[in-house]
């Protein structure tokens, strides 16, 4: 009876670059059998701006402007490894207050980024309200950033040896108002989705990846921790003032969409804890250390990796002397996380594929650079 089987033909479908849920201009060529995905080929490069090459033509202090625009949802987190790398090359000491300010704004930016993930993920799952809740709270963070750095999304705030401005005078009041607001917002977010049966059905067991596979593919950040690997550069390769701060590194075990989601929600709480500690421990002192007026590092190369909301964001900086960097290589976490996409997606449904892409939380600005 083998011949009597209905002959179905696989269909190719081109998802993206103009598709609402590819999170930018990502393109996937899906081979589908009915609703099920047989094969997936990712195509990247639609947002390629040549950031790394452009950086070679800019003076050291201008490069942060470009790095802001790689992972634009966590701009401050991108500036951090670059200025740290430069400080290593220049042997500059950073005052403690500056370090605390850096950690404070980085963690706030991490929350903003995770909120963005939450909203987009909810929208991918078909719920409209999570996006608005997430933006409501993210807006408050951006207000704070406006007051601190002058920018909402692109800050260009970190400098070699510190930060550009000290915190504004009313930062304590602003922050003490912001923290409970965010805490409440996270509760809202959780109540809306975390226990929702439809959401559970959609995400549990979808896009699962084992810890071994995740390590092989080079996943970092929440995507890796969702598989049960406790790797967080803030804890394992401590930098800045993180050793002085108390926070947990949450992990989950299953490594599916739901775990990645829940992990990020938990990380928001941890980041909020860090922010609170920064608020308490913030020392007095200068916010910018002794920095040479002309930044001209000696020859050498250095790699600094930090924990971005999406994983390890590393900067490999090569100097051949002179005013311009010889090479600025960005190790972009989204790019590496994206590699596991095919592994996660095989055999799932079209609806899942959107969710899986959302759960990896890529930023195309950083994938294509």
């Amino acid at each position: 009876m083998a011949e009597s089987r209905l002959e179905t033909v696989d269909m190719f479908i081109n998802m993206g670059p103009q598709h609402p849920s590819t999170h930018g201009v990502f393109r996937m060529v899906l081979t589908i059998d009915g609703e099920q995905i047989v094969d997936m080929k990712p195509h990247i490069g639609y947002l390629h701006r040549g950031v790394e090459k452009l950086a070679e033509g800019l003076r050291y202090r201008e490069v942060t402007v470009l790095l802001d625009r790689t992972d634009y949802l966590a701009a401050l987190n991108n500036e951090l490894p670059y200025v740290m790398a430069l400080e290593k090359l220049l042997d500059v000491k950073v005052p403690e207050r500056a370090e605390y300010i850096r950690v404070l704004v980085c963690e706030l930016n991490r929350i903003a980024s995770h909120l963005m993930f939450y909203g987009a993920f909810g929208a991918d799952a078909g719920a409209t309200t999570p996006f608005m809740y997430a933006f409501r709270d993210r807006e408050e963070i951006q207000h704070f950033f406006e007051a601190v750095t002058g920018g909402r999304l692109m800050h260009n705030y970190f400098r070699v040896g510190g930060v550009r401005y000290d915190l504004p005078e009313d930062w304590r009041e602003r922050l003490t108002k912001l923290i409970p607001h965010l805490r409440k917002g996270i509760v809202d977010c959780e109540r809306l989705l975390s226990d929702n049966e439809i959401f559970l059905n959609r995400t549990i067991g979808v896009g699962q990846i084992s810890a071994a596979d995740a390590i092989d593919y080079g996943l970092t950040g929440p995507n890796l921790r969702a598989c049960g690997v406790r790797l967080d550069l803030r804890r394992d390769q401590p930098y800045s003032v993180y050793p002085k701060l108390e926070f947990d590194v949450p992990t989950r075990s299953r490594g599916d969409c739901y775990d990645r989601y829940l992990l990020r929600v938990e990380e928001m709480r941890q980041s909020l804890r860090i922010v609170e500690q920064c608020l308490e421990q913030m020392p007095d002192g200068p916010s910018l250390g002794e920095v040479p007026r002309v930044i001209r590092p000696k020859e050498g190369e250095v790699y600094v990796g930090t924990e971005n909301p999406r994983g390890e964001y590393g900067i490999y900086l090569v100097s051949r002397g002179g005013d311009y960097p010889y090479r600025v290589k960005v190790r972009a976490p989204s790019f590496c996380n994206l590699m596991a996409l095919n592994e996660m997606m095989r055999g799932c449904y079209i609806a899942d594929c959107v969710l899986i892409l959302g759960s990896i939380d890529i930023v195309l600005g950083e994938v294509d650079r």
């Binding site: 003076r59 202090r61 402007v65 109540r191 975390s194 929702n196 959401f199």
Partner: protein, 144 residues
Amino acid sequence: MLGMLKGLMTTMQSHFRKPVTIQYPDERPDLPPRYAGFPGLIWDANVGEPFCTGCQVCARFCPTQCIYVTMKDNPKVGDGTSKRRKIVDEFELNVSCCTQCAVCVEVCNFDAIEMTHTFEMASYSREQVMNLQDMLSMKEKGGP
């Protein structure tokens, strides 16, 4: 079912909360002092001229090369009212590529630029955007 009910209760509650959006052109966003809009030159009220000497540091350091400055001899030097021997002649900012990164503010040796709170640059023609001499604020600073 319970999880869904929880979600439904949440949305029901938030329905009765105050909306957080503002009705933009009628209500203005309240911008903190550091808000970085487009850069503008500062006016020296004591002398009656801009602080800018047209030294072009900002133009050189601008990551997107959107600043164009020329310098001229300051006519006020002759009568002794000003100490600036050179002064800005033309200062043009290409708004279509300015990224509001504030590098120009930072590198300026005369503290002559600051980030204004201007963020509404919509206009009907390219000329209106390109020609910025009158659109940039010449804010007063350092009065008597």
